[in-house]
Every structure is written in structure tokens, then in C-alpha cells.
Symmetry: C2
Subunit: 373 residues, 2 copies
Amino acid sequence: MEGKEEADEKRMGVVLSSNNNKRAKIQDDDSQPQTNNVVSLRNKHSEVGERIAETGFYQSMELTTDTPICTKTSKYQTIEVHQAKHYGKVLMLDGVIQLAERDANAYNEMITHCAMMAHDNPQNVLVIGGGDGYVLSEVLKHSSVKHVDHVDLDGDVVEICRTHFPWRDAWEDPRVKLHIADGAAFVANSKHDFYDVVIQDSSDPYTCCEDGSLVELPSCVLFTQDHFRNVHKTLREKGVFIFQSECFQIPSDLDCIVKWRKQVLDLGFHHARYGSITISSYPTGQVGFLLCEKDRDAGDHTTNNKHTNHPGDLQQQSSSRIDQRFQEIVKKGCSTTYYHPRLQKSCFDLPLWVEKKIYGDETRTTQTETQNN
Amino acid sequence: MEGKEEADEKRMGVVLSSNNNKRAKIQDDDSQPQTNNVVSLRNKHSEVGERIAETGFYQSMELTTDTPICTKTSKYQTIEVHQAKHYGKVLMLDGVIQLAERDANAYNEMITHCAMMAHDNPQNVLVIGGGDGYVLSEVLKHSSVKHVDHVDLDGDVVEICRTHFPWRDAWEDPRVKLHIADGAAFVANSKHDFYDVVIQDSSDPYTCCEDGSLVELPSCVLFTQDHFRNVHKTLREKGVFIFQSECFQIPSDLDCIVKWRKQVLDLGFHHARYGSITISSYPTGQVGFLLCEKDRDAGDHTTNNKHTNHPGDLQQQSSSRIDQRFQEIVKKGCSTTYYHPRLQKSCFDLPLWVEKKIYGDETRTTQTETQNN
């Protein structure tokens, strides 16, 4: 983990502390330089935030106090839970925001249901990371699920989230087996052709310094070609792999998206598409995932380009099936709050410059593809 | 404009200044309280940013210097152009970011082309606001356009942007007539049944205080029912009105979206749908527009619900027509960089909780609507 300290410095979550949590009135005295007024305004708020060194972007959320509700240094990392003034409880690992209650539904519902709905009948599911338990709780809404292995490196994260977040019952479900273990090693030792869906909900693999160099973070073992190969092996035919894939408005992240997508396609995944999520508590207000499908179009001779991101490749048959499965979830009283079936298609429609960067000339990204609609 | 000062204080753009623009190394000395280290890290950067009082959210962009490239106090407002370190030139009005070169394509292309493509043959166009000229330059890419009236209150904004931004040639186009005038008054005095498309690119109409009360800003005259009525009158049959409609992740903004949409429907617009744009330089990383269509489905008996946000109401015929018109723009060598025809439909697919808030029970928001695809 060479350069870790430098990385922490470049892209870090920061906490500004103060005993006075009320807003500071800006002084009207013009003789006071503006800088001082503004600094005084800002520093009266305890906040957690993140700065992206390569684009000079910073964002933060205000807290109720400067003291975390909970803090623990585990074997692997510093775990904190803060109470934000408007964003609910906030989970931080090594000073980086992982989840805020206010909009955690966006990321967790999308990465779960886009994967689960991309498979016709998901029975065996593996969740890698996601120690907070939110993804796990969404997986369990699907009645087709028979068994879920949940593997997270840090048992302390699981214990703390079990205490502080409302989806704590997920681990009590008899279909779930929790493994406190290294995710990459767990997958390497898994049975071949076993899982229908693998969901990888990890923290960031790299951080980018101002000089453009990447520094590895602990999760980088989950973003190697070896790991992707092991995931491919452990998936059954028509299996689905989805993984947290960073923000397209951060240049080094977008480079990684392109690289990871090429790697999974080279390993034999037939489709790999980047889906986008709107979420204000993540840097730049956006995050996404790569949805990788194994043998997605086996027997489907209408699709010529195996690497297509063609939005029409969601077959009409599976569209109605998705509607039906979604309505079953709603009727059980455990509806989603962000995900709905139309997003299963439209989340893959990205800004033109992003589509060109990710897909190049692979597909006609500028067409509405009326022939398939 | 009662309460304006208070409003400036609650939701303000702030500039932190410093002569030393390099990053401050965090001191490793643990005896130094963390707060001081972090403050020292932050304050070494000149930055422009915005704080949303009602959600405690703050975001900012780093600048190259603490001195604006250009600053002028006009009759109406303080106009500044800053050079951001990575976001290009940034236009600010009264301390609030209006546009950053890095991602201005997102908002300006979407609000322009979603409106222009929603009309079959836009010839007469009115642009209200948008003194920076970007929307105007996008309108002119459509060869159907015969005449554009561009009305902005502040001639100094136009002059400054003409000097500093690359789309300065827009006003030289012989189809354009620039009016330095009040937008609401201009529309009130316009001919009836004249424009095919009206694009309103305004600054924020209100700001929300921490106690939840709204304070009017200068642009609020462009968000009244009287103004909407005048826009409706000045539009021809099948005319399209689009206006900047704020961020759905800010509660007071979302309340306004619901209110404005109800107002335009009550005035006789047949459809009003909120479209979403991903843009990191705007608060929460997202902004949107209301696309209001007059007599959109006159003669179309397949649509029963006149207020529907049904994504399938983009008819197949107009889908192919949009593809064709988009390809004409590409062939002329003035392609877009964010907008493409698939977004004409998918930008209206919002998170479920947002759709429920905006559309209530008007439409089945959870279905993929396969029957129309």
C-alpha cells in the first residue's frame, strides 16, 4: 500500500469541528476583508466532505455535532458514524463517506435491482463488501432468492452498522450466510458455476493525485483482472456481475471505467454497460456501476454486436417479466423508493461524450433505436 | 425584494481567497488539533462555491487565483468571471455560479435540444435570459430556425460573455435579434400565437432559509402564473415552453417543481414533464427543466391522460424524425457533446420518490410501458 499516506492527503474526507453549530452571521462591516467573513461562516459548521484533487472539486455535509455517534479503529480501518443535520446518519471509513441515510437508497437500490432484474431467476447470490448491509437487505426482497453469501473483510463494520442502521435485520434472514473474510480470496476459492448474481459493493480502489498518478487503496484487489476472472468462473451460465464503478465526471475514474470494461469483456462477459445514479452525497453528485452479463444473448440472433451497450438489448419479454417481478415486491409491502423498472433501461443512457469515451465506435450511441422499441 | 440580504446570507456563493494557491501539506504532528490542519488545507485554495442552507450541503470549485478575470457591478447585479483550475471560466452573478465551461454543455444542450426536438418544425424561437449566449448558440444549430428573439435584462452580462466565452458569435447570426429588456414584460407585450419554442434560461427564482421560508430573487417574476399565461399566449399551436426548474434533491426546489407544473397545466399546457441533467458544478450535481407542450397530442387518441408523464408519449414517428434532425446537425459539423436523441426520452425517468412527488397518481410510474415501446 505504498503511497497510502499521500493518497489520504490528496482525496480525503475532512471533518471541520466546532462547538458552535449555529450559522455565523456575516459581518456587515466592509472594512473586514471578505475572506475572513466567509471563513468564519464556513468554520462554524461541523461537516464531513470530500475533495477531488484532480478537478479541484469539494463537497460536504453539515453535522449536528463535531463528535461521531460511534468511532472504532478496527484491524483494517477507522470506522465512524456521524449524525448529519439533514442527511441522517453517515458512515465513514478512513475518513471517506460511504453512505448517508438521506440518499443511500439511490446507490443501494440501483446496484442491487439492476443486477437482480438483469437475471431471469436469481437464486444464489454473492454480495462482496457492502458491510453496511443495505445491498443485502435489497437482495432479500426478491422471492426467487434461495441463498446469499455475504462476504466482508471487516466484522467491525458489520457490527457497527447492525447497531446504527434500520436495515439491521438482513443478516437474520435464514437464507443469508455471513463470511468475515477477504472478498477476493473468497471468490478465488468459490465453486465454479454456482452464483446467478454477484454484487460487489466496495469502497474506492484508487485515488488520483494532482500529478495524475493513481495510488492503490485497500479495495484495489477487487478491481484486478485476476479477480474479475474468478468472478466469471464462479458465475453460472447467464450469470450477472455488477460492481461499483465510480464517477464519470472524474477523469481518472472514467479511465478506470474504460479499462475495467475492456478487462471483463476480454474475460468472456458478453455485455458490460455503465449505469448512472444521481446521488448528492457522493462526489460530483453521481456514481455508477458496470453491469456485466455472461452469455446474455446466447441464442439471441437479433443482436450482432456482442459488446453492444444498445439500450434496446433489454428484450421485450424480460421487460414484462421485470414489471411483474417488481409488482410482486410492491405487493409484499417492501417497495423500492428510487429504483423502478424504466430505470433498468434509461440509467444506461449517458451524456454523449461519456458514451463515446466508454463505447467508442462499438455502437450507434446517437440513435433512439426505434426499430427495437 | 424584501429579505434579499437575508437570502444572500442563506444561500450564497462564497469566494475564499489566498495568495498561496498550492495545497497545504497536512501536518503530521498529532498534537496539532485536526480542525486546524483541515482548515489550513481548505483555506489555501481560492474557491467559488454554494451552500444550501436547508440541507446543509456545500460544494465548491478551486480557482487559479483569488482575483476574477473580470468583475463589474451593473445596474442589476455584480458580474464576475473567474478562472477555475479545472472547470474553465466560471460566470457568477451576485456570487452564485451560473456556468462553468467544463460542464456548461450539460445544461445548455439539454434545455435547448430537448425543447427544439419536442417541436416538429421550430421556426420562431424566443430565448428569455441566458445572457451568456450558450443556449442561443445551440438554438442556431437547427436549420429550421428562421428568427430568434433573445431577451436579457442586463446588457453588461451579454457584453462580458461576448468577450470571455467561445460561443460569442451567436449574436452575429442574422436570424438573431437581441433585446436588452425585462423578460416578463417582453413576453407580456409579445404577439399572440407567434413563437414555436420559448426557452427560459434564468437564474434561481427563490432561495430557501433555514426556517423553510422562501425569499424572492430577481428572477422570480419569470416564475409567476401571470408570466406562464403570457408565455402560453405567445406560443403557436403545438408550441413548446421549457424553463430551468431547479434541483429535485433540494426540498424547497422540489416543492416549486410541483407548484409550477400544476400552474402550467392549469393554464392549458397539455403536458409538463421534468427532465433531469447530470452536472457537477450545480448544487447537488443535478438540475432540471420543465418541458411544457401546448396541444401536444391534439388528434392523438392513443393517449387518454392529458397530464401524463408517460415516457412512451414520444411517438415513434417523431423518434425517427429526431434521429434524422440530429444527424443533420452532426453532418453540419456542429454536433452536441452531451445531448443525444435517446436522452430525449430517458431524461424524464426520475427516481421513484421524485416521480411520486411530481406526478402523484397521474400515471403508472413503475411500468416499463412495453406496449408502447
